[in-house]
């Protein structure tokens, strides 16, 4: 896909390009070394890292994300109880010293279920963000770098996407699917989530591609693919990274909302959205059913949004 696109613009100079393949690789490697060690380029990242390490906001968000991730990977570290071992005689039991979060309607240990609920939320959040981000970077590169017809087609496509409210689109698509698990929910959220990141990356590419070092790389004979991946990507990705951290939180929240509305994940999946959905009719008699998954969900989303916020402070030179 990339190579058919990238060989066309330099067609007139193809002889030079072929002869200069070896040279161009060396030359742009040199340019790369300049970037990492010189004044501009990657020093933004080392500056950012220096600033992040001493930022309490960043450390708090990192702490929350690590905690929730460990919970998602190894829930057994936090609880010995089996979230699927339920005893109806404990139905709707209140929180106690042995069972911190009480029991749900089926008499399952609510603390265990809340801990195990982290896995699906975090994995959907990360999966959707990574795939939507990849899609956005590929399409954004094409739109921003090649401009013209490619750009117009992609721009009109995102216009159409933006005109459809996200939750509404997700409800319509998901209600058509009979079984809805991790794969279906992630897929729909990727489909609906990529245009914002695409716009961000496209405008970032547009401003970066006018820089002198891009012109220099092109003059040295670097291919379009090389320019896009080695020179534009590291310099244009910052806004997308910031937004991606926030997106993980937003997607986790969206998955919970869809599960809450009954068009997301289905039982017997253990998910915070489903737990809140089950608590909905009993918020008066058993408020703990709402409180604990709601709290975990909010704290997780908070962690990712806080991370995005501190990344922005560190990476956006305007705020310095």
């Amino acid at each position: 896909m990339f190579c058919t696109q990238c060989s066309t613009p330099g067609s007139g100079m193809s002889d030079f390009r072929d002869a200069g393949v070896q040279l161009s690789d060396d030359a742009s490697d040199l340019a790369e070394i300049d970037e990492t060690q010189g004044v501009g380029g990657a020093s933004l990242w080392s500056d950012a890292w220096k600033e992040l390490r001493s930022s309490p906001v960043f450390l708090v968000s990192l702490g929350i994300i690590i905690l929730i991730s460990v919970m998602a990977i190894a829930p057994g570290l936090f609880t010995n109880a089996d979230p699927r071992a339920c005893d109806l005689s404990n139905s709707l039991g209140r929180p106690s010293a042995e069972h911190w979060f009480g029991f749900d309607l089926q008499g399952c240990d609510y603390y265990a279920r809340t801990i195990y609920g982290a896995r699906i939320s975090v994995s959907i959040g990360l999966t959707v963000t990574i795939f939507a981000g990849l899609l956005a970077v590929v399409m954004g590169s094409l739109a921003g770098y090649y401009a013209g017809a490619t750009d117009s087609v992609i721009a009109r496509l995102t216009d159409i996407w933006f005109a459809i409210p996200t939750i509404l689109g997700a409800i319509v698509i998901l209600s058509l699917l009979g079984t809805r698990g991790f794969f279906q929910v992630s897929f729909v959220l990727v489909i609906l989530g990529w245009p914002t990141m695409l716009r961000l990356y496209r405008s970032s590419v547009l401003s970066v591609k006018e820089q002198d070092y891009i012109e220099a790389a092109r003059a040295l004979g670097a291919s379009d693919f090389r320019i896009l991946s080695k020179h534009i990507l590291p310099n244009a990705i910052a806004p997308v990274l910031i937004y991606a951290a926030i997106t993980v939180g937003v997607i986790i929240s969206a998955e919970a909302a869809l599960s809450f509305l009954g068009v997301g994940l289905q039982l017997p999946a253990i998910s915070w959205g489903l737990m809140i959905s089950g608590a909905q009719t009993r918020i008066l008699s058993a408020p703990h059913l709402l409180l604990f998954p709601g709290l975990f969900l909010s704290v997780t989303v908070f962690g990712f949004i806080l991370m995005g916020d501190s990344l922005r402070d560190a990476l956006d030179p305007k705020s310095r």
């Binding site: 009109r156 509404l168 068009v263």
Partner: protein
């Protein structure tokens, strides 16, 4: 300006067609035969089935069904559901509820959000600024349905300050749903106003205005604020459409008979015409509010001239 408007309205057409066709195709891809489903166990005679299919244009290919549908919409005919109820009638009954909810939420988020943002932006880096920064993040992080239930539980039930759900209490019924619906956007508006204002306060023209001896009120109110409002207004314009669409969850929590509730129920019952009708309406609202934003730009920023 006139030429610009015409161009924008012309640009509407492909987006409108694309968005509505997407939804139309999705909804009518639902597996199953709605005509056969009407009759239950005892199948209708073939002739009756054929007549019904022809009546609802179900015998035609998808693109032709779509063309006929859009042709109707342009003339104000949104079709009817399978029980013969006019979709436009459903919409005229439901839209006022959602519109009122969205407008209250919009006013709430705009007034409080901008005030909070100005307070933070003028105290950039100070205590109030950090307080507003962190509290807006907390508001953004709490999913709207968790927030909604918490509000019902605390404000509605525990302290009995506001009606909990339904529409029985007139205008007061809208207060809590509107606050819940507007809260996330409020946080975004406050943050946007804050960064935008703080950035403008460092700009040269603000220093000039201060240097020529204007009062702080005038420097902030006339010079800095006017420029700072441009990104905020973009957000507000996009948000008005988003509020109408986002009302689905709020209406579900507070049991309000609005358009979000209607489209949600219709999706679950697979009433295609109702879903497509409401989505078409929402797409229109969204696009018109975006156009209004573009026009407002010119009023706020004299550097922007539309040719």
């Amino acid at each position: 300006m006139g030429r610009y408007l015409t161009r924008r309205v012309l640009q509407f057409i492909p987006v409108f067609i694309g968005a509505t066709f997407l939804i139309f195709a999705l909804v009518f891809m639902i597996p199953g035969d709605p005509i056969r489903a009407l009759s239950g166990d005892k199948p209708l005679p073939q002739s009756v089935q054929d007549t019904l299919r022809a009546q609802y244009n179900l015998d035609k290919p998808l693109w032709q069904q779509y063309a006929l549908y859009v042709g109707g919409v342009v003339q104000g005919d949104f079709g009817e559901d399978f029980r013969g109820r006019d979709v436009r009638e459903i919409m005229t009954e439901r839209i006022p509820v959602t519109a009122r909810l969205a407008i209250y939420a919009f006013l709430f988020e705009m007034v409080i959000g901008i005030i909070a943002g100005i307070m933070a932006g003028l105290n950039f880096g100070g205590f109030i600024d950090n307080l507003i920064r962190i509290s807006t993040l907390v508001v953004i992080s709490i999913p709207i349905f968790v927030f909604g239930f918490m509000a019902q539980l605390l404000i509605g039930v525990r302290f009995d300050l506001l009606p909990v759900s339904g529409l029985r209490d007139g205008q007061a019924s809208y207060i809590m749903p509107a606050i819940v619906l507007g809260s996330v956007s409020l946080a975004y508006i406050a943050r946007l106003t804050r960064t935008s204002l703080a950035e403008n306060m460092r700009a040269d023209y603000v220093r000039t205005a201060t240097a020529k001896g204007l009062t702080r009120r005038r420097v902030v109110g006339v010079h800095a604020l006017r420029n700072s409002m441009i990104p905020v207004i973009t957000f507000l314009g996009v948000d008005l459409g988003a509020l109408m669409g986002g009302a689905i969850i709020t209406e579900a929590i507070f049991n309000l008979p609005g358009i979000g509730n209607a489209v949600y129920q219709a999706t679950l019952r697979q009433e295609g015409t109702v879903v497509v009708g409401i989505v078409t309406f929402l797409v229109l609202v969204f696009m018109i509010s975006n156009l209004l934003v573009d026009v407002l730009y010119a009023v706020l920023d004299p550097r922007i001239r539309y040719e």
